[in-house]
Symmetry: C2
Subunit: 309 residues, 2 copies
Amino acid sequence: MASTVLVIGAGAIGAFYGSLLAQAGTEVSVVCRSDYERVRQHGFIIDSQPLGRWSFTPTQVLKNVADFKGSPDYILLCTKVIPTLDRVALIRPVVGRNTSIVFIQNGVEIEQEMLDAFPNNEIVSGLAFICCNRVGPGEILHLAYGRLALGNLPNGVSDKTAQLCELFNQTGIECGATDDIVTGRWQKCVWNAPFNPLSVLSGGLPTLDILQTQESFVRSIMQEICDIAAAAGHPLPDNIVDINIEHTYAMPPYKTSMLLDYESGQPMETEAILGNALRAAQRLGIPSPHLESVYALMKLRELKLGYLP
Amino acid sequence: MASTVLVIGAGAIGAFYGSLLAQAGTEVSVVCRSDYERVRQHGFIIDSQPLGRWSFTPTQVLKNVADFKGSPDYILLCTKVIPTLDRVALIRPVVGRNTSIVFIQNGVEIEQEMLDAFPNNEIVSGLAFICCNRVGPGEILHLAYGRLALGNLPNGVSDKTAQLCELFNQTGIECGATDDIVTGRWQKCVWNAPFNPLSVLSGGLPTLDILQTQESFVRSIMQEICDIAAAAGHPLPDNIVDINIEHTYAMPPYKTSMLLDYESGQPMETEAILGNALRAAQRLGIPSPHLESVYALMKLRELKLGYLP
């Protein structure tokens, strides 16, 4: 029998990966708020530069999580991680005894609240390495990359997680299972912690301009993330900063997700990426003055935008 | 015989202090570029909330420094300190044997080039503590404060500097002579180094919002300036950070000069205030990661605005 998947937060990431699971033969339903009417009538169009173009008609299209009939085998939680959205409360109505909770989200130290709230469920932390944007209601443009990494919390890879990886791999997207997804999360943060806020605070510079003029500042932030990760029990490879720098020089100039959010007036993942890393640093006694500065400036920028302090 | 004064850079600061010296009986000429036609025909109007309203008709109104006839007793240099303006080349045409060069300008470590270029002239470093804006061509609004501090370089107070102080004091503005004006310059930087860039990078917050939400970040930058100043041989009072914090809480919410420049598309004094402090830190081996972060972000902001790196 086909597995059932409920995608919660069917923006670019949720719709893209959900559509792949549908291709692989699972029953995929989606909860999407902003594009609900359009998606209910016409589904999604995925325009993938590497993989071609396809449409995706979810089994159920829902405006609210609680409208889902039954308990899914997998929840794919793909919302942004922002303080005004309670992830636990959002998914609770559909978490059944056998539901695996998979979150494909940015940020560090976003695991514990899930483990606390659902101690008897499989919790799977996921990371997407992808350039993928919503370009219109129900329309997703996949520009490049696409690799997924999944791993159970607190660590390991369950059979069910391995099955999910296998489904993704059938579709031509690389999905790796990892014993230590938390380390992977810190590893992704090495790139996100400098480039996301710097793109916003600079007033909209793409990654290459930032790197070409402020490489040493970028490296300082990256190194602080490495130090925090190591103190948190997740040491990263010695050359991770060099690799990130080289990789970014090789990328085409790129607008970060935080800059896209900023430009479209959407909330930014300041807390998930920077605030959580900084709180870990404070808890563990790791000096991180560059990260502290960037976080403080992002909070000032948000204050100016009208966010509550 | 009355002294002659040439104000170079007759913006808000130059016109305000120049007008006071004219009141005190000196012959004051001005070099002003942007408002030249208007000022040549109508002089300046100074609207001072604490001191009343007066007009100021300079003896000569000049578009270029070299047009000045003779050598003034005092040059009052009041331009901004920005990399694209060569202060030495600007004033050289009118520096005579007996000319005192007085600069009322922001920033730290802006003295040496003057000392090197004019080794046989009196060089006087000045600091203005004033809220004063140009509100139209030839129209200056003086909102509050106004104290001046003057001192010879490398230190001490010459007779001629004491005379200039006396002239200012006659007009109701407090002008203090100080043996150690370089320390005064670092002291002013304690306030400028956080509030100027944070007001810009936040997207336009006034000082009070910055302080109320990010006091500890502000304090970190202030403390780094104190550490650099001490290493440079200019230790500041132990309680200087506390005093600046208290003073800023007591001020009405205030838009910094850098924010006003930013909002009106004018060049900002990023190098004079932050760049010079940071270069001193690097020379002296003083860690200053918060200052470094703020400077790097200002440079990114300037890059986005089209400044050359």
